[in-house]
């Protein structure tokens, strides 16, 4: 098993009680095919949920373990429905794609050569009356010899699809196509054998060429749309250099790496697993990494000794020595691949409704074809045949079926490139419709670790803010208090404090350059200089810490969890897109008011319990608002689930456990407005696609029935209509134009 295979391994195995698998299915062409598979698998005992997506060719099945149904029975049911299950693994999927592509290319190639040859022979018969009967018959036979293999080789997917549909007692889109092909081919063969009458071999060749060429392009676009999880999986190196205890090295497969193993990552190589930078890096050096594959962030990030690096990052600088923290299967990258696999296996409600309409549509078309035949027969029997063929071929229920899933697959890829993973198929549609966004504060609008948020110099102070912070850092150097962490980044190696002492609940004391300093509560610090009392400042959002010496207070330092650098811009952009922005936090009134004030948010709720937050979401939804909740994903689970659409800040292992619809892997909120923009574009494209598919069919069917569309033009129209839908959707995978 390669590293890429390992990433696609089963993503939920709950001790055998509840099992879940995602696999690829070969041979699906429309939503009807997906429904056939769902029906076949759902009929098995113990199957709890089955979702099949015809565009991404993925099936997701949940079933109760330890029962009569196992993976073998599920795969067997898919095979009996007439489709081929393929393991969802990096190399197996690639081999499958390659096989599918080669077969499709052969079909198109044969159809194109056959179409041209058949037309060359048979066009000689058009309108020519003085041709020798023996030569006419030779041309007919040549046409038959060429087009018959085209029909049964290049047209095999249509014939097989129709047969499968009829066996499953449903009317799929292949039924009218196969009917039209056979209706044109059988009388032509009969007329050739009796050496009299019209032949339509050139039309059959042309139908098959246009249809198979359309399917080939569709397949190519589909393969490219699926590349979000495949690209992740394929990015992993197959082998890595593992360092041995004796200083040597060995080349091992990436999946052989275990937590604790030390390994070497050359410049330009991808880090195979989540890992930590070795502690023995030279002081002052930092690793430069490109995390764009995971987070979508194109700017290189820098990491120091001991810091964590996510699997999938590319080493841009000098070779690195890393210590593995996870295996390939447990890595952040593996969680992301599995979530994408899961999202791509489901079809949203809009797509299911379109599929249902498409299946009715085929039935209506067959009835229309009969009506066309009956109506034309008394008028002109010669044209009746062509009109019926045109009606059967021109209709394109596949455009209806493809309209939504093709757009969603492309939008999912686009969002993944932005650093936002879509974990549920409905999420994009619901995000596009959302009008209210609720942010949790801690860990969402703010970071997770505390830092200095403000410094105010007081009284007689002659120090700069940097000097005050460096002194505070020197005093806190030996302290284990959580607030001491906030001062670590401000340490100055040339400034040292001695005679350090810590006073529980009050602060710390020490000597710097022979002067006694205190850092902590105001009263504690003022004890050093009782005579020099400075009026208290206005309370801020974070903890107030004072720095002072015998001369009095020097600085008031506010320590808190700082807002993310891009929070204000992201909120402004969301507001510009018509969102009402709300903060709902469990934090103190002061902390929430501080954040709301800094971000210009007028509606902010503090001290909310998880139940309060859910009630807030429910109230907003009851008032007709469509609520988008953004939380940290760890303790916001219930409120994320209560929202119309939710997004969690994905951090490490939280990615795998998240119950949210979207996961923000990129460390920054500025992705959110871009994601909303992309989702709204996706919804627009879905509507355009559905509108186009509907308009094409409504216009084309009457024209074909009235005899204005020749059969070959009908075949071209059908291919172009589904191609148009897929190519329109493909636009979503490209970045939006900035105004």
């Amino acid at each position: 098993m390669s590293a890429a295979d390992a990433l696609h391994a089963r993503w939920s195995l709950d001790a055998g009680e509840h099992e879940h698998v995602v696999f690829l299915v070969e041979g699906m062409h429309c939503g009807g095919c997906a429904r056939s598979i769902e029906k076949a698998v759902a009929a098995l005992p113990g199957v709890l949920n089955v979702r099949v997506n015809n565009v991404t060719a993925r099936a997701s099945v949940e079933w109760a373990g330890r029962g009569a149904t196992g993976l073998a029975q599920i795969l067997d049911a898919v095979t009996r429905a007439g489709f081929k299950p393929v393991p969802l693994a990096g190399t197996a999927a690639s081999a499958d794609y390659q096989r599918e592509r080669r077969a499709a290319l052969k079909r198109v190639g044969l159809a194109s050569l056959g179409m041209m040859q058949a037309m060359m022979y048979l066009s000689a018969l058009y309108g020519v009356t003085d041709i020798d009967p023996a030569m006419t018959q030779l041309m007919r036979i040549a046409g038959m010899v060429i087009v018959t293999p085209v029909l049964f080789y290049s047209g095999a997917p249509f014939l097989a699809g129709a047969w499968r549909d009829l066996r499953n007692r449903r009317l799929g889109m292949d039924v009218p196509v196969a009917l039209a092909l056979l209706l044109a081919w059988l009388p032509s063969v009969w007329n050739t054998l009796r050496a009299d009458g019209e032949v339509y071999f050139d039309s059959v060749g042309m139908f098959i060429f246009f249809l198979s060429a359309g399917r080939f392009v569709e397949m190519s676009v589909r393969h490219r749309s699926l590349d979000s999880s495949e690209a992740l999986a394929r990015s992993l190196p197959a082998q890595v250099w593992r360092l041995l205890a004796d200083g040597g090295r060995e080349r091992v497969t990436a999946i052989a790496l275990r937590a604790g193993d030390r390994f070497l990552v050359p410049k330009g190589s991808v880090v195979a697993v989540d890992a930590e930078l070795a502690q023995d890096m030279p002081p002052g050096t930092q690793a430069a990494l490109d995390e764009s594959l995971i987070t979508g962030e194109s700017v290189a990030v820098r990491r120091g000794a001991g810091e964590r690096i996510r699997g999938g990052s590319v080493n841009l600088g000098a070779p690195l020595t890393l210590r593995a923290v996870t295996t390939v299967e447990e890595s952040t990258l593996a969680s992301m691949v599995r979530l994408l696999d899961r999202a791509q296996a489901t079809r949203p409600a809009l797509a299911r409704a379109a599929d249902k309409a498409a299946s009715w549509f085929v039935g209506v078309i067959l009835v229309l074809a009969v009506i066309t035949a009956v109506a034309w027969w008394p008028i002109d029997p010669a044209r009746a045949f062509a009109a019926v063929l045109a009606v059967l071929v021109v209709t394109c229920p596949c455009a209806l079926s493809l309209a939504t899933p093709a757009a969603l697959a492309a939008a999912t890829t686009r969002l993944a490139r932005l650093g936002l993973l879509v974990t549920r198929a409905d999420a994009i549609e619901r995000l596009a419709r959302a009008d209210t966004v609720i942010f949790d504060k801690t860990g969402t609008l703010t970071g997770t670790s505390s830092g200095v948020t403000a410094v105010k110099l007081l009284g007689h102070s002659t120090f700069s803010q940097e000097q005050a912070l460096a002194m505070a850092a020197a005093l806190e150097r030996g302290s284990a208090h959580p607030l001491a962490e906030a001062f670590r980044p401000h340490e100055n190696a040339s400034l040292r404090a001695d005679a350090l002492g810590e006073f529980d609940g009050s602060g710390v004391e020490g000597h710097i350059d022979g002067v006694r300093w205190r850092l902590g509560r105001r009263a504690f610090v003022e004890e050093l200089s009782a005579a020099n009392v400075v009026p208290p400042g206005s309370p801020g959002a974070g903890a107030q810490i004072h720095l002072g010496n015998g001369q009095g207070l020097v600085a008031e330092i506010e320590v808190g969890v700082p807002l993310r650098a891009d929070a204000a811009a992201a909120i402004e952009a969301l507001r510009g897109m018509g969102f009402e922005v709300i903060i709902a936090s469990g934090d103190s009134d002061m902390a929430v008011a501080g954040a709301a004030g800094a971000l210009g948010i007028s509606r902010a709720y503090s001290r909310l319990t998880p139940d309060d937050k859910i009630r807030l979401v429910q109230d907003l939804r009851a008032a007709g608002r469509r609520v988008f909740v953004v939380g940290d994903g760890i303790n916001d689970g219930p409120v994320l689930a209560a929202a119309d659409v939710s997004c969690a800040m994905g951090q490490g292992s939280a990615i795998a456990q998240s119950a949210s619809d979207l996961l923000l892997v990129h460390e920054g909120l500025n992705v959110l407005p871009r994601a909303v923009g992309a989702a709204r574009r996706a919804l627009r494209v879905m509507r355009q696609n559905l509108g186009w598919a509907l308009a094409y069919n409504v216009a084309a069917v009457p024209l074909a029935a009235l005899g204005f569309v020749s059969p070959w033009l009908a075949a071209l129209g059908m291919s172009l209509s589904s191609l148009g839908v897929v190519l329109n959707a493909r636009r979503l995978a490209t970045p939006e134009r900035t105004p």
Partner: protein
């Protein structure tokens, strides 16, 4: 007249040969990735020089 029969049969034979050649080329992988061969000279191989593996190179 008879030459027409020969030409038609010859054209059918050529059609068969063209189809065979196309199938052979596809099965041979010549259409799998039409951009790969052009970019191959630009790719580096993944081997690491010995001095790096020994740990005495730049870190």
């Amino acid at each position: 007249m008879s030459i027409s029969y020969v030409l038609v049969l010859l054209a059918l034979g050529l059609f068969g040969a063209a189809v065979w050649a196309m199938f052979w080329a596809i099965d041979d992988g010549q259409y799998d990735d039409i951009e790969k061969h052009a970019s191959m000279p630009l790719e580096e191989n993944g081997d690491i020089p010995d001095f790096l593996a020994k740990g005495d190179g730049p870190r």
